[in-house]
């Protein structure tokens, strides 16, 4: 099962130079993780957090990736942990995209006082250190997955919002918009039907790049002991691996590799999307030398 994730380390160099191969690699990596997450109960049946055997057993035929200090099966925890990581990544990016679209769209279209107020709010959330805010929120409210997603989503939106705002500002005086206005179309209708469809693609790319960031941030929080205790998560396995780093390498190695594979796959796909939508990147500069 892990051969495909492990394979990610070798073909990367060649992959970057050939965009088509890069996106295939991204699809394969994310696809494998996604299948594992969806079919977790079939691939590794039973509660992943139960004790199944002796503690700290190295990888072998009975425990493919070994067991942890409580005798739990690492393979099972990784398979089920994929759900946690993918949920956090997707939910955070979605929330950031939705809030960013609302704020950026309104801000860019209506300008004036509304724009000023919304941009101050955006700047405020941009300087708020999201990792430390999430730390504080989890310490005060308790370790819940929805809370982590809510805090990350609430701090990831300024990027998409600013991108959308500048897109909308550029579009709002274009001929087709002026034409729609001259025909008497309501402002909201113009914004939703004419401007947003043209302005949204870069926001999708920005949100796509945030999937990886969100997954890494959740892993860091779990590493500090702030993850949801009732859910298996890669960051949590890495956290419990910390005292055994030098005696039981498999505890930290495999969950770390899964994180790299997932985030790398997500970034490759986002990069590909970016290239599709930005023709300037397809053209190389004149070579020097």
């Amino acid at each position: 099962m892990l051969t495909s994730t492990r394979g990610s380390v070798t073909p990367r160099v060649a992959a970057r130079a050939h965009p088509q191969k890069a996106v295939s690699l991204g699809v394969v990596l994310l696809g494998v993780i996604l299948v594992l997450a969806v079919a977790a109960d079939l691939v590794a049946p039973g509660d992943p957090l139960r004790t199944v055997g002796p503690a700290l057993r190295p990888p072998g035929p009975s425990y493919w990736l070994g067991t942890d200090d409580l005798g739990r099966d690492i393979f099972s925890m990784i398979v089920h942990g994929a759900r946690t990581s993918l949920t956090v990544g997707a939910a955070t990016a979605l929330m950031a995209a939705v809030i960013g679209t609302l704020v950026g769209g309104i801000s860019g279209y209506f300008s004036g006082a509304i724009d000023d107020a919304l941009m101050r709010l955006t700047e405020f959330f941009q300087v708020t250190p999201r990792f430390f805010l999430a730390t504080l929120a989890v310490v005060l409210f308790g370790p819940k997955l929805w809370l982590i997603v809510a805090v990350l989503g609430a701090t990831f939106w300024p990027g998409p919002a600013r991108i959308l705002r500048s897109q909308v500002m550029a579009l709002r005086n274009r001929e087709f918009v002026v034409a729609a206005r001259a025909l008497g179309a309501p402002e909201l209708y113009i914004l939703v039907r004419h401007i947003l469809p043209n302005a949204l693609p870069p926001v999708v790319v920005a949100a796509g790049l945030q999937v990886g960031w969100a997954i890494l941030t959740e892993a860091s929080l779990s590493f500090l002991g702030l993850g949801d205790r009732n859910l298996p998560s890669w960051g949590q396995i890495l956290s419990s691996a910390q005292p055994f780093m030098r005696t039981a390498w498999w505890l930290g190695f495999f969950p770390g590799l899964s994180l790299v594979a997932t985030v790398f796959g997500a970034n490759l796909l986002a990069d590909w999307l970016n290239r599709q939508l930005d023709p300037r990147l397809r053209r190389g500069p004149e070579e020097l030398g």
Partner: protein
Amino acid sequence: MGPYVLRRLLQIPPVILGLLVLNFVLIHLAPGDPLYFLVGEGGDESYYSAIRSRLGLDRPLAEQLVRYLAGVATGDLGRSIRHNEPVISLILGRVPATLLLTGTALAAATGVGVWLGTLSAARPGGLLDRLTNGVASVLAAVPSFWLGQLLLVSLAGWLGLFPVQGMVSARLASGGWALIIDVAHHLVLPASTLALLQIALIFRLTRQSVRETLVEEFIRTARAKGLSPRLILYRHALRNSLLPVVTVVGGHLGTLLAGAAVVEVVFAWPGLGRLLYDAILTRDYPVVLGIFLVVSVMMVLANLLTDLTYAYLDPRVRYA
């Protein structure tokens, strides 16, 4: 430059006020009596009621907010439940170690990242470009603490090249050069861990920015004038490409500090991150609150500094 600086400075107080109010609201929204967050759990009722009236927690919320703001303004961030020391002195005691770690990492990462980015951009699709680009995109996906664990186990554990954890060796109590060398030796692994991840970011930014500059008209003019490719690359292209790099690196202080927090835990580096980790484990709420505030203020100041640098380097910003 003057009016711009003034306008930019005037934006600071509302942001700081907003952060303080956010902090205050979070404490009061959290389930349970805010008193527990301030002095800890497990006391008896008479103790709590005494504290409640002493801290003014029986007063209306608006009055509490004013008292809280006044307290923070005078440097009072409360007392640590575990250490029974003022939070502000605990935090200030840890700031130098974190600054040493992040400063070293950022300096190394900027140097290496800008250099590699420029070289790669000069020959897009070349061997160096493909290699560095591949490595950087994988590094961008690596969690800092995992990279730290890998470096620690391999270089410090198996090969024994570096000390495993901490900032100084216990047996070395003396000062002077021996101490400096000892600290530097301990610094190599955590700083490299942090720097490697920053290099990935700075490299990609520089590469992109230089590539975009190299298609500009003035580069063609410089080539037509017969200037050497080296001179064009470093004097003309790189200089004009550094602005976006400065902005993004300045805006990434939060990521850098968050990375430092987990790396400090891996290497038992006695900085803010380690303090935060201990405070989380012992439910030392005032310390967690204090660290959030201090890091927020650091970010606001870093943003100010970035914007001022940008305005200084690019006159167009000042008059926008």
